[in-house]
Symmetry: C2
Subunit: 329 residues, 2 copies
């Protein structure tokens, strides 16, 4: 696509982005700022994630799913902190490939997910780049005052849980790249997860009320649990044998020759956008009940111990992970 | 510079960005979010501007000034709205040229300006790009509840003012590109303005109390006044003859053969980061007094009229601007 001229930037805002604006606080995207009233009883929670074509999404990914992923990975951060999202600011760095139809697709993807997740655009900026298409989004949510769950509250004796399944992020990337030999339905499911992961907003209130520490699984389950261990100043064990797998991941796993290494791959893969969290054992039953009510899988994957860092076990024994990734934590 | 490996991203955050974190609300940049208490009596004001190398700054610009400009252009938006900034979130898209010394310079620039303007980093993201270095910043400030000045409040009969001088943004770009023949001191002054413009935060409270509509001069004075005219549904006149010029701009202007065209250039240039605003004539004296107290130049450049759009006059007659830019408004 040829690049649009300068007027295209105004059109992009007026025709594509303005319809997404928060009816009250976004000022119709016609001012330089968004203005939010302060809400007594609530803390404002903010997060900002950036995505670059070729790094965080594939050049062939449709821009509507790129937009939805951008929004969802940010909402995932808010969900893991027990916050309820309401809005976001957006910076688009349009590349040469982002002509009008692509920008329209991007806005359409945002509109769909705005409706789905109850958020509105509050402002931002659109510029052009000679490099790969890139995006940055600042998402905002409310949390009950003082109730935003941190990474640092894990206590010795707590149990470690994760929502949903682990590994679909990594396998989804491979599926989108056509690197997996699975049947079409599973490839489709994995690709969909990679392109439009589901932020666990329906579990945010449970995390807020019952978790001692939490994180969304973006760097990889092992890496993210290592972040929690470090921030909390305690040790975390992760039992690879109980890693929850989707049907597609299970099908992939069943064909592997080295099960341990395969599970390590999935635990280090990232892009799962589940919530990993710690909680006191007395809350286990309530957690399971709440997950069941929400039709959400919840798996106890380890525990919090004295000591430091992450210990990964397989068949009951501590192992040294062959994969890197989490070692950077 | 060679690109840093993945561990470099963690180091960038831990060693360069963490020291910039808001002591209370930034969570040491060790969590995925920033959490702000709500403040009764205040509105939260948010703005987000993005910058791309080769578009918004020059490839040879030192990264400490790039960082400072990024922060300042966002603070300028807050100043024009009458808000007092307190923090920001940052997304860095590091290019190949951004090795450790460059990232350090970037953080040093931010630290300097954090101290200067009383703001703190609240969170963000750093990623790598194969394209030009790019940055996105979300700045936040407080404004007294309901007192955030919009673009849309201008009333027929109001006067139009601008702080500081106009044209140093455009001439500064040309100076930084070595395209001007002026003496070294003036080149230096213009280049400094281009690289590190001064957000008019010291006039924000005056704008908040006395302006009916306001905007920061980033697209160009003519374009920005056209934005105000459009948003307010009124007409705005701009008298080119009284355009306030810096000593350097005056020296440049004195060498021109076509004064009208030269003034048009400056009025369309952009990147000035002054505040243009409208106010009732009864406030003119107070405005002048407050500007004087702050050692700030304030110029009455036009008025608000019935009708629509921007009318530019020269020698008392309406002219058709040869330059584009503001026509996109």
């Amino acid at each position: 696509m040829p690049a649009l001229d300068v007027a295209g930037e105004f059109e992009t805002i007026e025709r594509l982005l303005r319809p997404l604006a928060h009816p009250e606080w976004g000022r119709g995207l016609a001012d330089d700022v968004a203005v939010l009233p302060s809400r007594p009883g609530y803390d404002l929670v903010l997060t900002k994630d950036a995505m670059v074509e070729g790094v965080h999404f594939l050049p062939e990914d449709p821009l509507d799913t790129v937009a939805r992923k951008l929004l969802r990975v940010n909402l995932s951060d808010l969900a893991a902190k027990g916050a309820e999202p309401f809005g976001y600011l957006l910076a688009c760095f349009w590349s040469e490939r982002c002509g009008w139809p692509e920008r329209e697709a991007f806005a359409t993807g945002l509109a769909e997910d705005q409706a789905k997740f109850g958020v509105h655009l509050l402002g931002g900026d659109t510029v052009r780049t000679s490099g790969p298409a890139s995006f940055s989004l600042t998402a905002m949510g409310w949390a009950t005052t003082g109730k935003t769950v941190s990474r640092s509250g894990a206590q010795v004796g707590d149990l470690v849980f994760v929502t949903g399944v682990i590994g679909d992020g990594l396998l989804g990337l491979r599926a989108a790249r056509d690197e997996l030999s699975l049947d079409a339905e599973r490839i489709e499911a994995l690709t969909t997860h990679y392109r439009t992961p589901t932020p666990r907003l329906d579990f945010a209130d449970v995390v807020r009320d019952l978790a001692t520490a939490s994180i969304d699984v973006s760097d990889g389950l092992a890496a993210d649990l290592a972040h929690v261990a470090k921030a909390s100043g305690i040790g975390v064990t992760l039992n690879l044998n109980v890693l929850p797998l989707s049907a597609a991941a299970q099908a992939w796993f069943d064909d592997r020759v080295d099960p341990q290494l395969s599970l390590e791959d999935l635990a280090c893969g990232g892009d799962d956008y589940e919530i990993a969290f710690t909680a006191h054992p007395r809350h286990e039953e309530a957690l399971r009940r709440e997950a069941e009510r929400r039709l959400l899988r919840l798996t106890r994957i380890g525990e919090v111990t004295a000591g430091s860092g992450l210990t990964v076990t397989y068949d009951g024994k501590p192992i040294k992970m062959a994969r890197s990734g989490w070692t950077h934590g």
